[in-house]
């Protein structure tokens, strides 16, 4: 017995003039399976919906086609109308006869409108109902890393009531916060003690992840600590492994002096300079100091911030002459322009040059030559200390971490693929997040915003302990699956795993929690074993069948 299909045409309050609705109703009534066709002028308003519900109940219609405006704003409302009328919300197919038919073509478009309805009718005939269900998720969070962003994330997560595990590969927490302490008066000690005293946070130091399996709400992580291995379950994973800096001189040959070995000279990194500022027992206070940045790495927000802070501190403490060599001063972070102005007011000299300066040694002092843009001629300067340019690189464990979690990295090796839909802290795998230095060159303000964003995202995902999903929206049929692993390799969200089914065969299983319903696996499966409800091959081919065969 043919399934009963109800078609609801809407002439948008009479405004759609280039479709002859009477002829359309006659033609649509002839389509196989269509039991009732009604024309209304306000389907998106309350009265239109009431009429629709009564018609669905009256004629006990099993499938609904709505030919009206774009599904953009109406589809979810109409699904609720179907639910109210006692029909499964998924048994709806829409034909866009306003935005993509009446408004974009002049002249009579009745024939196209009827064909669009026929395509929707062919599709709706094959649609199957779908249930929604709340699946339980593990509420524990694993935070990888032990620095500033990791510890603060753990603290804020515990304040929102979520248990976290801090995984630090070094023996102690709080690495890399010297600059925060000296410039912003940040107290690492109090942060670490707050972490230790907090009962919601479990700290595992000198521990590393060796294997990560599972998916959002159910990650199984194998952790190696002092020889022993433990297996733990987590709902979400936050990577806060930070960054590392490397003196540009070592990696940039053209900055190196032609022949002399310059390692003996006073060339330091920002951090070393910061410690020099910190210890008062310095034997000779440097009189002239040179800074360098933005030559080999033009994405240098962090180094610019560190340079300005160090320069101001050195000016106040030692009153020494300070020269900064750079290409462009990167001031596009909060408060940087003020800092830049303050530095110039205190007498720090900024020399901008297109080509990187040449560095040579001259009787124990560092000689820097560069062609300044404003003067138009070479500036030669001998200084006691040179704070060389630093390259901002991903932390060294990043390579195997990204293969462990099989997540993509951006063109410079930092976590998080360069895709705007992942910003600010997301990854292509649901439940895996990145914050702070490990995802790119971020200044302090952006790191703090990252921390609060990830707390919000994790809270939204895990706090209720369950996630509402559509059951088996994309399903691999165990009988047809030949376990060729193509879908597992192809899935951009890592939502498919090999699973042993009733003890015998290993087949691919798509997890409803992690699946983002894109359909790439359904298209590539060589055994056509994966069914994507609503967009199955039959449903797409049925729409093609309906074209121009009136």
């Amino acid at each position: 017995m043919e399934t009963k299909i109800g078609v609801f045409l809407c002439n948008c309050g009479g405004a759609i003039k280039n479709i002859d609705f009477d002829a359309a109703v006659k033609k649509v009534a002839k389509f196989p399976g269509v039991t009732c066709v009604n024309l209304s002028s306000d389907l998106c308003l309350e009265e239109g919906k009431k009429k629709m519900i009564s018609c669905i109940r009256g004629e006990n219609i099993e499938r609904v086609v709505v030919a009206a405006c774009s599904p953009e704003f109406q589809e979810h409302i109409l699904r609720e109308v179907l639910e109210k009328a006692g029909l499964n919300g998924h048994l709806l197919s829409m034909a866009n006869i306003r935005e993509q038919c009446s408004w974009t073509h002049d002249g009579d478009v009745t024939e196209k409108a009827v064909e669009l309805v026929k395509m929707a009718v062919n599709r709706v005939r094959l649609l199957q109902p779908m249930e929604k269900k709340e699946l339980p998720v593990n509420r524990e969070v694993l935070v990888v890393g032990g620095g500033f962003s990791a510890s603060n994330t753990a603290l804020q997560l515990s304040r929102v009531g979520l248990r976290t595990t801090l995984l630090e590969k070094e023996a102690v927490l709080g690495a890399g916060t010297e600059e925060l302490e000296s410039f912003y008066g940040f107290d690492t000690g109090s942060m670490i003690s707050a972490v230790e005293v907090d009962k919601n946070i479990e700290v595992l130091t000198s521990a590393q992840m060796t294997e990560v399996g599972g998916k959002i709400g159910d990650f199984s992580v194998r952790i190696r600590q002092e020889g022993g291995e433990i297996l733990r379950k987590y709902g979400a994973i936050v990577l806060a492994t930070g960054h590392q800096t490397e003196l540009a001189l070592d990696s940039e040959p053209q900055l190196r002096a032609e022949d002399e070995a310059i390692s003996g000279l006073n060339i330091v990194s920002q951090e070393q300079f910061c410690c020099m500022l910190g210890n008062s027992g310095l034997e000779t206070e440097p009189k002239t100091i040179g800074f360098m940045f933005d030559f080999s790495d033009e994405n240098s927000r962090f180094t610019t911030l560190a340079t300005l802070n160090n320069a101001l501190e050195a000016k106040k403490k030692w009153g020494s002459e300070i020269y900064v060599f750079c290409k462009n001063v990167k001031v596009d972070s909060e408060g940087m322009e003020k800092l830049y102005r303050e530095a110039r007011d205190c007498g720090v000299v900024f020399l901008k040059s297109e080509a990187p300066p040449r560095i040579t040694a001259e009787n124990g002092r560092v000689k820097i030559e560069a062609k300044d843009v404003f003067l138009g001629e070479d500036v030669i300067l001998a200084c006691d200390v040179l704070v060389a340019e630093e390259l901002y690189l991903p932390a060294e464990g990043a390579e195997n971490l990204s293969s462990l979690l099989s997540i993509r990295r951006d063109s410079k090796g930092f976590f998080q693929d360069e895709n705007v839909h992942l910003y600010p802290v997301g990854s292509e795998k649901k439940g895996v997040f990145f914050i702070g230095g490990c995802r790119g060159d971020l200044d302090l303000g952006r790191v703090l915003t990252d921390i609060s964003s990830v707390v919000m995202k994790v809270h939204e995902l895990l706090s209720s302990g369950k996630i509402l999903v559509e059951l088996e929206k994309v399903k691999a049929d165990p009988q047809k699956c030949v376990a060729c692993l193509t879908c597992i390799r192809v899935c951009p969200h890592g939502a498919i795993q090999l699973v042993r089914v009733d003890g015998s065969k290993e087949v691919a299983e798509i997890s409803d929690l992690a699946c983002d319903a894109c359909g790439i696996c359904a298209a590539i499966c060589p055994a056509k074993a994966i069914k994507f409800q609503g967009y199955r091959d039959e449903e797409i081919l049925a729409q093609i069948e309906a074209i121009q065969e009136l």
């Binding site: 953009e72 306003r98 478009v109």
Partner: protein
């Protein structure tokens, strides 16, 4: 199905762009039929071949911009499949009917209209 274009439109980019073209009342030729897909990566070679078998004058796959796909690799997959499909058609000496992939974003209705116009011009020239 004389001179009809079948267009697989990705739900995240091409379909909203087509809606926007409607709201801006941009006009484009009428012989296009849009099939909504969740991602350009959902379109399979068999869908394109079946559309051509049914007599479509051209098949378009419209997905997100390169590097801005909601599902990261959806649009690159679709580009590979369209290339494979063109190779299959060249094997059987049917290359009069274009199978093309276009990238656009949801707020670029003009790209949708220019894609449709371009393909219609190609069809008219080849006298399908």
């Amino acid at each position: 199905m004389n001179g009809c274009i079948v267009a697989f439109c990705c739900e995240h980019s091409a379909y909203p762009a087509a809606d926007l073209a409607g709201k801006l009342r941009l006009h484009y030729p009428e012989n296009i039929r849009v099939i909504r897909v969740p991602c350009a990566g959902r379109v399979d070679v068999i869908h394109i071949l079946k559309a051509l078998e049914k007599g479509a004058a051209a098949v378009l796959v419209l997905g997100c911009e390169d590097g801005a796909c909601h599902h990261i690799t959806g649009n690159t997959r679709a580009k590979e499949r369209v290339k494979y499909c063109n190779m299959l058609l060249k094997e059987v000496q049917i290359d009069g009917r274009p199978v093309a992939m276009f990238n656009l974003s949801p707020n670029a209705p003009h790209k949708f209209v220019s894609a449709v116009n371009e393909i219609t011009k190609i069809i008219k020239e080849s006298g399908r």
